[in-house]
């Protein structure tokens, strides 16, 4: 018997980010509101992190709520129907439950059912991991449009007395639609991991241990700031340079540099190490949004475009890096 050949899908040869949406926490939390428990000051936080205030969500607002708002804006801006979306990917570390995924819930809320829907756990690199996947899915013909969301409610995982990372954290969600294009809009992804630094940033205790220790505290985020700083600047500068080379451009060709909004000192030193020219707009959304992990790159992209609409169509270097340690970088054409 002759075995019939299987069919295989093929998608658009080129992809791009078509639209971006954003939703920040509804509460503006200035440094003065959080300095008490860490025996610090507004000046101390500003000097070490560049953060003036962070957006946090009210108790009644979940990360999925923020993701839904951001997604709806991206869909409306893209001028597509939610039913055109073939996959919904949410990068998050703050889903309320281990399962089911936040993506399945949000896909239903926005009317994208029955799109494939799943979450990815790549912390602050999660959004750029999602872009890598969306680019591949569209080019492979697995979906025509992919909704990629970074969504976090990190205030649920912030410890008021922690001086390592909690005071940086904010809540928000950023969403983009990735779809077919006439020319290259997303460069090759440079990504990877360094599990040798698995404990450099992450939760301060396992969930199970916290559950068994009924008098103990819920797990919250912590980091070894110096280790993370060195890695985030000097190692990530190499990754960013690789991404530029893989795309076939230089930093001088960029319209914007949109790194993960981890800390203003990291952003500034990173830009210095990468020799980003003065002509390039550098995203500094952390100043008033805080560090929103997977949401920070799309939130920063949204703000860069809102403040500099003339950059639409220009190239942006996006790079996410964080707990794992994991990282991913691309050059994208701004929507």
């Amino acid at each position: 018997m002759t075995q019939p050949n299987l069919h295989q899908a093929a998608g658009s040869p080129f992809t791009r980010i078509i639209a971006v949406g954003a939703a920040r926490g509804d509460l503006n939390v200035p440094n003065d509101d959080i300095v008490g428990p860490i025996e610090s000051s507004d000046e101390w936080i500003r000097q070490r992190t560049g953060v003036i205030s962070r957006t946090r969500a009210s108790a009644s607002v979940s990360a999925a709520d923020l993701a839904t708002s951001a997604a709806n804006e991206a869909i409306a801006t893209a001028k597509i129907s939610a039913s055109d979306i073939g996959a919904v990917i949410i990068a998050t570390i703050s889903n309320d439950v281990l399962t089911p995924s936040m993506a399945a819930l949000v896909a239903d809320r926005i009317g994208a059912t029955p799109a494939a829907a799943y979450d990815i756990s790549a912390a602050c690199a999660g959004f750029c991991y999602g872009i890598a996947q969306a680019d591949a899915l569209v080019r492979a013909g697995a979906a025509t449009y992919v909704l990629v969301i970074g969504a976090e409610k990190l205030s649920d995982y912030a410890k008021p007395t922690d001086r390592t990372i909690s005071f940086l954290l904010g809540d928000g969600a950023g969403a983009v639609i990735v779809g077919p294009a006439d020319s290259v809009g997303i460069s090759p992804t440079i990504w990877g991991s360094d599990g040798g630094k698995w404990d450099a940033v992450g939760m301060d205790r396992p969930t199970r241990e916290a559950f068994d220790d009924r008098d103990g505290e819920f797990p919250t985020l912590r980091q070894d700031g110096q280790t993370v700083f060195r890695w985030a600047v000097w190692e990530m500068a190499k990754v960013a340079q690789e991404a530029l080379e893989a795309a076939g451009i230089t930093a001088a060709d960029l319209a914007a540099f949109i790194p993960h909004q981890a800390n203003m000192r990291i952003i500034n030193e990173f830009a210095k190490q990468l020799n980003v020219p003065d002509s390039v707009v550098i995203a500094r959304d952390i100043e008033t949004t805080g560090n929103t992990s997977a949401a920070s790159v799309p939130l920063a992209m949204h703000r860069v475009l809102a403040e500099n609409p003339e950059l639409s169509g220009g190239y942006a270097l996006i790079i996410g890096f964080g707990a794992g340690l994991v990282y991913a970088a691309q050059i994208v054409r701004l929507p």
């Binding site: 000097q47 070490r48 700031g225 110096q226 280790t227 700083f229 600047v233 000097w234 000192r265």
Partner: protein, 82 residues
């Protein structure tokens, strides 16, 4: 090539000045980076990375926290060079 303590001190003082604006002449033996020179942990790491390049040595993350004084840093670099 191994350098003398005074040579390393002079180079280190210039790096500290570049990063923090602290006058190079203030960076002398007996001073604490944090308490006397008011250098925070992030600036310290930047100085360490630049020192690695300038002096041709490796300073691992777990060593950085042990370099609390100018003497600690100069002695470590001189020792690592030899």
């Amino acid at each position: 090539m191994a350098q003398s303590k005074d040579e390393v001190l002079a180079g280190l003082a210039a790096l500290v000045n570049d990063e923090t604006g602290v006058p190079a002449e203030s960076v002398v033996f007996g001073k604490s980076f944090a308490d006397d020179l008011d250098i925070d942990s992030i600036s310290m790491m930047t100085i360490v990375v630049n020192a690695e390049e300038q002096f041709g040595v490796k300073i691992p993350d777990d060593k950085v926290s042990e370099l609390k004084t100018v003497d600690d840093a100069v002695n470590y670099i001189v020792s690592a060079q030899s």
